[in-house]
Symmetry: C2
Subunit: 336 residues, 2 copies
């Protein structure tokens, strides 16, 4: 039984969309109507000690920041702005007061950065390990809201930033590689410890009116794009040569013998945005990339088929192979 099975069991009977619920399960956020012009976005994510973070090498302040960031990223993924944060913190009885102070500093710093308010929550005792659950409520113009379900055949697939960096950083932390004197490796580690959700970019993309569908990259490209395809009733073909490989991952791959393509396809937690837009959007998107200072890469296209395939070029040949990568990636209940 994997994570998707559990979600299906919990939400098997699709929530009847009555009242002011515009959209329940199945996207980055639930969407609730505030007024005909304005929607609330609601998301909830949990970080568990040893599963999602290890206090041995993850500074408390950055755990606090990340707990906010992964939720804020869901708001960004629908073109919204985060407003209110609710924090539930389960702490062992013998928790370290300094840890809590640094963690709190991270939470508050993030709230300030994203201009949200910590508006409530709960504090409970945990028998073993820290568990952090955050709910974020955000706002979005109803007509500008971006969903997963509207990708159309012919759309180009775009991603922001560089892929696979957070997964490489996690690997460096896990294997206790010495990275302090290597700026490239440090940057990868920082991508894992302190991800930067793309709130402003998400807002610019939503305002542009160009984007058909969008979500954030939390479980990895193969898995997340498969969600867009599944919900839009389409397929996607990605070109491996077009995946945005940043210099740090390129260097790390050489130094450590990491397969960078594999990491860019299945590595989770980049918290970049993936979106689809019709052909002819390139010029406008290049301007947005320039204005936001964030790299935008066209990595493939939406097809009439189903599932996600990657086009891998065969070395020394003009030919290529298509490999199915639908939902390849990590699952909390299957991977270690």
């Amino acid at each position: 039984m994997n994570e998707r099975d559990i979600i299906n069991l919990l939400h098997g009977e699709a929530a009847s969309e009555r009242n002011s619920l515009v959209l329940g399960i199945g996207d980055d956020c639930a969407v609730i109507e505030k007024s005909p012009e304005q929607y609330w976005l609601v998301t909830m994510d949990t970080l568990v000690e040893t599963v999602h973070f290890d206090p041995l090498w993850h500074p408390a302040e950055k755990i606090g920041r990340k707990a906010v960031a992964v939720n804020v990223s869901d708001i960004a993924a629908m073109g919204g702005t985060p407003k209110f944060i609710f924090l539930s913190l389960a702490l062992p009885a013998d928790f370290d007061r300094n840890w809590l102070q640094q963690f709190t500093k991270g939470i508050k710093g993030s709230c300030q950065e994203y201009e949200c308010i910590l508006a409530g929550g709960d504090t409970v005792k945990s028998p073993a390990g820290i568990v952090i659950t955050i709910t974020v409520i955000g706002e979005v113009e109803s007509k500008k809201t971006l969903y997963r379900k509207n990708a159309r055949p012919g759309d180009k697939v775009w991603v922001s930033g560089f892929l696979g960096q957070a997964a490489a950083g996690l690997e460096l932390c896990r294997t206790r590689k010495k990275y302090k004197n290597e700026p490239a490796l440090q940057l990868l580690v920082e991508s894992h410890l302190n991800p930067q959700p793309r709130v402003k970019l998400g807002l610019m993309l939503a305002q542009s009116g160009l984007v058909h569908s969008m979500m954030d990259l939390s479980d990895g490209l193969a898995s997340d794009l498969a969600h867009i395809c599944e919900q839009s009733g389409v397929g996607a073909v990605i070109d491996s040569a077009k995946l945005p490989l940043g210099v740090p991952l390129q260097q790390a791959a050489q130094m450590l013998g990491i397969d960078s393509i594999e990491l860019m396809i299945t590595g989770g937690e980049d918290y970049e945005l993936i979106f689809t837009a019709p052909t002819g959007s390139r010029q406008h998107l290049d301007t947005i990339a320039l204005e936001s200072g964030i790299n935008l890469s066209c990595i493939g296209e939406i097809t009439k088929g189903q599932g996600v395939q990657i086009r891998k070029h065969v070395t020394g040949d003009d030919d290529h192979r298509l490999i199915d990568i639908t939902f390849a990636g990590f699952d909390h209940f299957q991977s270690s």
Copy 2:
């Protein structure tokens, strides 16, 4: 460092009340303006295995029901109606599929009962034990919203139902008393396993226009009334003879040698409502009790002082003693 210290550290700088946030930390729910006539209420509560429930004697379906109930109770405590539920579930890798099915049944049953929709959440792996966090969003008429902060000297203090029953039930479960053939004890156990939040009563009280301040009884009378006093800048005197002692607790006290007064004062998790209303409200409140089918008891009065005191009658004497019980009760970080 107790739970209140942790909350103070987390929320030390009071959230600046800007945007549409009507009220942040410090009440049963955060209050967000939907429109001038309508507010959203948001609450978040976590239940941790071995701290808040023990699957050995707490059936999975009732754990699901209780996880919803304790949150719905916060909505009821402000006079609101629950609308949307968000569930984050941390499960050990080797969780029992049957457990999850029964738990899900409890969550869905409660949603149906309270007419809310399960609209989102998260499912993650836990290294040890189940952790359940629920966020509930509810709705309330802005002018009917009941806060903790408006108790006034001269108000009478009222509670719904009977007190101390859930704590007695927990004690029965913990000590593995045989209660199956004793209907009175079974009822106490049920109060702990499957609490019934007072949604309809909360709504009736809010609509009545009589009530000055209200909250739900989760940590125990002494502790919860102390919150009302602290936030209203008043004191309270409770009359021990007026505490609503139900027949089951009375019987259990005799059979098991439990101090029923102590349990009614400090026992947590009754999820009854405590509220204050001016003198002269009795007739109207008696009608509400009759219509709702829920016992309402006047147990004391609000004073100009501070803290919570209990008036204990000395046996064989017309005299009485006043004992300070401010914040007496349980604290997750202090009690076992």
